[in-house]
Symmetry: C2
Subunit: 275 residues, 2 copies
């Protein structure tokens, strides 16, 4: 136990709360930690709550009663999220991103931890009120996004593999059809990675017709688990409505078109902003 | 511009600094942001610095002069890192982790964002004084660790693929020999992922003889880039000295032995703690 002045306590409590999102912290934890009266801690929390909410950092929920305490729920206000999405769109529209076949080079953006953390915070906001046990993605490029989302929601991440790895133990494999190419692929998940009845938030970097994500949904059925939500960073809007396998998802950006001749790319904020 | 009281300012500045590690922030940024005198901001920073350093959260470096400001360098003290490593060892020693072939199931631990963030903070501490441009890993399981390290060091992450992906553009591929099995594999890196002369911190989840990491080192040579350091979460100590391809690295845990019959696993803190 250490006695801290209010000013030092505010700094310490701020970092303590920020590093423990979606975690209930009893007031006694703070009172013991700083050798302060609960009433002083409550006053500190009022100050912190006000700054967090004014700054659009998230909510500080107070739960009364014996099992009560305070919980930091990271949330990004929609106007701030839109600024992020517009900047993402601007960067995605750089002409030199167009690869042969009309694919888009995105690895430089996906390689920025701070950008992934912002996107993760938006997903954590979008799904803050859902009951979720784990975040799931399939290797490879969605992984940083899934971890960023898991970190903000204080949830573990489960990783679906493209092939069965010796380091994963026994696994359940399924075949799935990648919607846009109609080609068949395999994905597998370690048996011990997911408990039965788990509620799962699926996250990925890119979705076209939704075949890969539908594969994850089918895999969840094998585990008797259920989908709590689907979040994708970029969706392709270039999909015929009847080809779309998945309709209920959140996207942060929509790729409206790539002209592989003129190299023009058209990206708009995703469906999260029209909901 | 908003006028904030000192108490609110401390909360705001704390979160501002924590979310921008290894970033120089001019005092005028804060002065403008809060409509406060630079002298008040300096006083605030003294309080924050004291708490950060007392709590083992890191350093708050002050740079004087016109181009000056303040920079938060996340650092975990070695005693705190050792507590982390010992807990990691304890969890790795759970008997049910042993897979056929003596492999160890680690995906549940690698799937915890908070655990990855702690490990990333230790690597950021170990390599805080190196000049580094990017963090590199090879898919798949080292990815969360690389991003956690990159986030703490404010650096981008570059991802080496096991095969050449259409979404990566033109790439450089090399073959490498996995030391323990003497089998030959391929890894590739997109040409546009890495600038020439880059200084690269290599991060991975597991290292046995070091063949995979040596492969990344060889790949760097193709880009005229250089190794700034190597960090692995777990190294296998079950390697004959002459088989070890790599000698200069930091490990957080050492797997001393796995008995696939008795399922006994022996894990000790890594070489970071004996340096």
């Amino acid at each position: 136990m250490k006695k801290l002045k209010r000013s030092a306590r505010l700094v310490e409590m701020t970092q303590y709360l920020l590093s423990r999102p979606h975690t209930l912290i009893p007031l006694t934890t703070f009172a013991d930690r700083y050798g302060a009266a609960k009433s002083s801690i409550s006053e500190d929390l009022v100050i912190i709550k006000e700054v967090f909410e004014d700054e659009g950092m998230g909510e500080l929920q107070t739960h009364a009663g014996a099992a009560g305490g305070v919980k930091f729920i990271p949330k990004m206000p929609k106007d701030q999220a839109l600024i992020f999405a517009e900047e993402l769109c601007r960067q995605l529209q750089q002409k030199d991103r167009v690869l042969p076949g009309g694919y888009l080079y995105m690895s430089d953006l996906l390689g920025q931890p701070s950008l992934m953390n912002e996107a993760g915070k938006i997903f954590a906001t979008a799904f803050a009120d859902q009951e979720i046990d784990v975040v799931m993605t399939v290797e490879t490029k969605g992984i940083p996004l899934a971890y960023a989302t898991g970190a903000q929601l204080n949830l573990p991440v489960v990783l679906v593999r493209r092939d069965h790895q010796v380091t994963e133990g026994s696994a359940v494999s399924i075949n799935y059809v990648s919607g846009s190419h109609k080609s068949i692929h395999t994905m597998s998940l370690s048996r011990r990675a997911l408990k039965e009845k788990s509620k799962v938030l699926i996250v990925d970097d890119f979705m076209k017709a939704g075949g890969t994500i539908q594969g994850m949904v089918d895999l969840l059925a094998e585990f008797d688990a259920e989908v709590a939500g689907v979040g994708v960073l970029v969706e392709s809007g270039e999909v015929e409505s009847e080809e779309r396998l998945l309709r209920d998802y959140v996207s942060l950006a929509t790729l409206a078109g790539v002209d592989s001749k003129s190299k023009e790319i058209n990206v708009k904020p995703g469906n999260y902003f029209s909901k």
